[in-house]
């Protein structure tokens, strides 16, 4: 599999470390329902058959965290952007 890093270009997936679903965002720790929200954030994951935004880390490259849109049925990658900022390839 190959991932086109916005910074480094197309690279073998061996250079990347996988984290998982990019959808969950860290909840507000001071909210009254923080315990439930963090439980969901840490443990609850969808398992879609189809396109999914995932976090990958270019550990053997530029060390940027990436948001990779991958179809879980075909492994086809349709978009890659820097995670956090959402900035795509220049």
């Amino acid at each position: 599999m190959r991932i086109t890093c916005p910074y480094c270009g197309a690279r073998s997936s061996h250079e990347f470390a996988y984290l998982g679903d990019a959808a969950p965002t860290r909840p507000d720790p001071s909210a009254p329902d923080a315990a439930e929200a963090f439980h969901a954030y840490v443990y609850e994951r969808d398992n879609p058959a189809g396109p999914m935004d995932e976090l990958w880390y270019h550990s053997a490259g530029c060390r940027r965290w990436l948001k990779v849109t991958r179809d879980t049925r075909t492994h086809a990658i349709t978009a890659v952007a820097f995670a956090g900022t959402g900035e795509a390839a220049r």
Binding site: M1, R2, S12, S13, A17, L19, R26, P29, S30, A34, A35, F38, H39, Y41, V42, Y43, L55, Y57, S59, R63, R64, W65, T74, H75, A76, I77, F82, A83, G84, T85
Partner: protein
């Protein structure tokens, strides 16, 4: 001898000598082992897997099910090598497999007599009970009786390597379709790789007498190869098997660099594993000649009709003194007549059809080959074939022949199209499965696509090669496809000879796994009808050839039985690898000491010179201990190192700790969010011990972080977690809080760090610093000094203690690490400074009661480890919310304490579980376990650390440490984990 009088792509001017089962034979360059054996009249080449039936060569390619041999000897012995793909070289040695005591007389061929017991499902039925018999009785017996070749029992002396290639268009297969595709793509300027598993490009064109562009097929192959070789954008890869198609248009391939030589040339590898990254791929893998199921179809001498022809035309080898062909299709008849023209004595063509095309019939007549229409072979005889019985509506007759070529039509070689989940689809018009959905970027051309006439194949290859190039941005100038006559493609769907006269022995479906038509019928009777069940119940198609030639026959027999037709039965899915791949080439250079990279510390060479014994910790090589000549074992050395450190001064390289440099105005904020304790308030010139959690509330790592300037910190992590913590910090900065202004750099490799510990450490340090005040006032406990040592070497000095003694860690640029160690050894000589290794380091930390990797298991929270009080209540940090879960604050949770054996002479073992004294050893009574133990030379007995239910409330209580695995069951006394200096006075002096 059955070497034909002339012809073939062999160099008859040179003779090669080779041995098979100890007997010497002669062959020529251009031969395979199989063609050379046939040319020498050797028809019996092996015994079958289960029944030990005599078997011969069946095909002329990598789909071969039968002719598996042990190639070479000694450390290079390779089992299960297909004789049909082995290039002959001078001095080649091969041996048959599965025979005992000899190939000619095999004692175990009695398996044939008891074959009813070894039929379909025999593993499941016969040996079900008692289970204990499996290991001791059934398996050894079956393994001896049924098996394949022997692997070498010494290490492989050869080298293997891995490489990556990039191209626009990968063409797999160099037959008519592949060459046409490669030419079309290459002429456009696209980067083309043409790979073929054969040692010679050309595929079936090397065996057939057809006309292309007005010349012979061989002329066409030669001119195509010459043109492709002349183009700088083309890489020709013969002897290269593309064995897998993977995600993202990546293909795995093995190049057999030296397999055609007795041994690799100096500095050359045996095989090379290629990862080919191809924007587009044209698969032109051709088709297999389909066998027909009939009684006695496994007798040596019975083979594929196209193989029979190939041996005659390409190799000048007759598969027997005379031959017949049993066919269902024009292609096989034409190939057989090619063989007759090449000099094979072809007595008859038996075809299931009522008539053949006029042109073929006329050609047969001209060659004196008898044509038997509506004929079926119903029996064979001879150990190696001597005669066949042919049945026609007009009666039956026996023909004396030594070879029988069989062709049931073409089975497209669509293996690679299935690797990403593509399912083959049935085409009734050609009675074959063709590729369905293919991997992205792949196109299929020629016979693999179900395109059979030569003119059509060349046109399709040209069109798809040009299209592939054009897809990658190379507009191909429309070039004409090579021109050829239209070859006949008539056929009749026919798989299985049944009815009158067919009682003459087993009819094999899968020769490599010894599956017969009867086995398929049994599977049908017992309800294993779905294709995946049929496969597992009978083992059909599960041998090393993955059923390349046999699957279709099995499906056809099952389809007959169910009356549903082949598409209703379906086909099994092919998976990588296409042909077996040696583990050696997958490992490449990664074996032995090169299995993974080794990270020596900056003082490695120095430690070696001191006679250190090393231990691998992750990739690092660390000194475990430094034995002296008079010490009887490692414990003596460790005890000495610990004592010296506690009484005077010891020194250890701690460069393996992860070191992360953090700079920017927001470092303090970041650290406050990743550590449970405060770091933004840390004074410049101070260090602090910190604990970081995962977001689920469990401890991730611990270590010391120092503040070098307002906006500059340096963090240390444990050796094991260095990469993980770095990745975590990047995640925090890039994903969670991109607004924070912090830059990170891993500096683990850039700084050597050496710990000096013990009451005399300050005196040693004072001798090497360049005017740094190392007094207790100038550099207090947890203080950090920056300056230089050894007359100008940049240094950071951290006053830290892992051992509990007065101690310092001195960091210098890595290139000065060894010099620093030597300087410390010289400065400490008057005090008997003693280098110590990680074993003593472990004892020192257990005596002091510090947690380490044994306690940071990913299952412990800060409270479990007695670190809960460090957690700040004034801020949020990663893991804070989840660490507050009821389960993590349950007072019953096993918590960190120390242990001493009640009988001080007893040994403690890490892993022992705690039970109340008198309680039964049950899971319900389990109260925790021992995490770390050591013999304490300071106290003179074993000590331990562990996690005990309500541990800190149970000081002085005796509990049972139960270790059934190693027979340990002793009483231990609960105590503080700080065995020495619990007030921490020594480190502050």
């Amino acid at each position: 001898m059955t070497r034909l009088a002339h012809g073939g792509l062999i160099d008859r001017g040179r003779t090669l000598s080779f041995a098979f089962d100890g007997k010497t034979f002669k062959g020529h360059p251009g031969d395979t082992l199989a063609s050379a054996l046939l040319a020498n009249g050797v028809r019996l080449v092996g015994r079958s897997f289960k029944y030990h039936r005599p078997r011969g060569v069946v095909t002329a390619g990598s789909e071969e099910p039968n002719a598996l041999v042990e190639l070479r000897t000694g450390a290079r012995r390779e089992p299960n090598t297909r004789a049909t793909t082995v290039e002959l070289y001078d001095g080649l040695e091969a041996a048959s497999q599965n025979r005992w005591p000899s190939l000619e007389f095999d004692a175990l061929s009695v398996n044939r007599l008891v074959s009813p017991f070894l039929g379909a499902g025999f593993y499941y039925k016969t040996f079900m009970w008692p289970a204990a018999f499996w290991e001791k009785v059934y398996e050894p017996v079956i393994r001896r009786a049924a098996g394949l070749g022997r692997a070498a029992d010494t290490p492989d002396p050869d080298h293997y390597e891995k490489a990556t290639a990039f191209c626009d268009v990968l063409v797999i297969g160099s037959g008519a379709a592949g060459l046409a595709a490669a030419l079309a793509a290459a002429r456009s300027g696209a980067r083309v790789i043409l790979a073929d598993e054969d040692f010679r490009l050309g595929g079936r064109l090397l065996s057939e007498r057809t006309v292309i562009n007005g010349g012979s097929a061989l002329d066409f192959v030669a001119s195509a190869q010459a043109e492709l070789s002349s183009l700088p954008n083309v890489r020709l890869m013969p002897r290269t098997t593309v064995f897998g198609a993977y995600d993202g248009s990546e293909y795995g391939a093995v190049e057999r660099v030296s397999d055609h030589l007795p041994a690799p040339l100096p500095f050359q590898v045996r095989q090379r594993l290629w990862r080919i990254v191809a924007k587009r791929c044209v698969l032109a893998a051709g088709a297999f000649d389909r066998p027909i199921v009939f009684p006695g179809n496994d007798r040596p001498g019975v083979m594929s009709a196209l193989a029979l022809a190939t041996y005659a035309t390409r190799y000048g080898a007759g598969a027997g003194a005379n031959a017949a062909v049993f066919s269902t299709n024009d292609h096989a008849v034409a190939a057989a007549l090619d063989a007759a023209e090449a000099g094979l004595k072809l007595d008859a063509v038996i075809d299931v059809r009522p008539a053949l095309p006029d042109a073929l019939a006329a050609r047969a007549k001209a060659l004196g080959v008898r044509l038997i229409t509506e004929g079926e072979v119903v029996a064979t005889s001879g150990k190696c074939l001597t005669s066949i019985t042919v049945r026609t509506p007009r009666g039956s007759e026996t023909l004396a022949v030594e070879a029988l070529g069989v062709s049931g039509g073409a089975t497209p070689n669509l293996n690679l199209t299935c690797h990403l989940g593509g399912k083959p689809v049935w085409r009734e018009d050609i009675a074959a499965f063709v590729p369905g959905a293919v991997p992205p970027g792949m196109a299929v051309a020629g016979a693999v696509a179900g395109t059979f006439g030569l003119a059509d194949i060349l046109a399709e290859g040209t069109r798809l090669g040009a299209a592939a190039a054009s897809d990658t941005g190379f507009a191909a100038a429309p070039a004409p496809a090579p021109q050829a006559e239209s070859t006949p493609t008539g056929f009749k769907a026919f798989f299985h000879v049944k009815g009158q006269g067919t009682k003459g022995g087993p009819a094999f479906v899968d020769q490599q796994n010894d599956v017969t038509a009867k086995d398929v019928a049994l599977a049908h009777r017992e309800g294993f009808r779905a294709v995946e069940l049929l496969k597992r119940y009978t083992t059909l198609g599960m041998a090393t050839d993955q059923g390349k030639t046999s699957n279709m026959a099995g499906l056809a027999v099952m389809a007959e039985l169910t009356g549903k037709g082949i598409p209703a039965i379906g086909t099994t899915v092919f998976r990588p690898p296409y042909t077996p791949v040696a583990l050696g080439v997958l490992a490449g250079h990664h074996r032995g000491v090169d299995f993974k990279p080794a990270r020596p510390t900056p003082t490695h060479a120095w430690a070696q010179a001191q006679g250190a014994v090393f231990v691998e910790t992750g990739l690092w090589m660390r000194a475990a201990y430094f034995p002296k000549a008079d010490e009887k074992d490692w414990l003596d050395s460790v005890n000495r190192e610990v004592k010296a450190t506690r009484e005077s001064v010891g020194v250890i390289d701690v460069s393996t700790f992860g070191k992360i440099d953090l700079q920017g105005p927001d470092v303090g904020v970041l650290l406050d969010r990743v550590y449970i304790n405060m770091f933004s308030t840390l004074a410049v010139g101070k260090a602090r011990y910190g604990v970081m959690l995962r977001e689920d509330g469990l401890v991730m790592d611990d270590g010391t972080t120092a503040r070098l300037a307002d906006d500059h910190y340096v963090m240390t992590t444990t050796t094991a977690n260095a990469a993980k913590v770095y990745q975590h910090l990047e995640f925090c900065l890039q994903v969670l809080w991109p607004e924070l202004d912090v830059c990170l750099a891993s500096v683990s490799e850039q700084w050597a760090q050496i710990a000096v510990s013990g009451p005399r450490s300050r005196e040693v340090l004072a001798k090497i610093v360049d005017g740094i005040d190392v007094s207790n006032a100038g550099l207090p406990f947890m203080g950090v000094a920056q300056g230089s040592v050894m007359g100008g070497v940049q240094a950071r000095i951290f006053r830290l203690s892992f051992s509990g003694e007065l101690g310092y860690e001195i960091a210098v640029p890595a290139r000065h690490g060894a010099a620093l160690m030597q300087a410390l050894m010289a400065a400490g000589a008057p005090f008997g400074i003693t280098p110590y290794g990680v074993e003593a380091l472990g004892v020192l930390r257990i005596e002091k009661g510090h947690v380490s990797g044994n306690e940071l298991t990913g299952q412990t929270c800060a409270r479990d480890l007695g670190l809960g009080k460090m957690a700040s209540t004034k801020k949020d940090y990663i893991g804070r919310v989840m660490a507050g879960r009821p389960a993590f604050t349950d007072p019953d949770r096993p918590s960190f304490v120390g242990f001493k054996p009640v009988d001080r002479s007893a040994r403690l073992r890490a892993g022992a579980h705690f039970l109340k004294v008198g309680a039964a050893a049950t899971t319900q009574n389990d109260e925790g376990y021992m995490t770390s133990t050591a013999f304490s030379p300071t106290l003179g007995h074993y000590i331990g650390l562990g996690l005990l239910k309500r541990g800190p409330e149970r000081m002085g209580e005796k509990v049972r440490a139960y270790d059934p695995v190693r027979g340990g069951d002793i009483e231990v006394e609960v105590c503080s984990p700080a065995f020495i200096d619990p007030q921490g006075e020594k480190q502050r002096v």
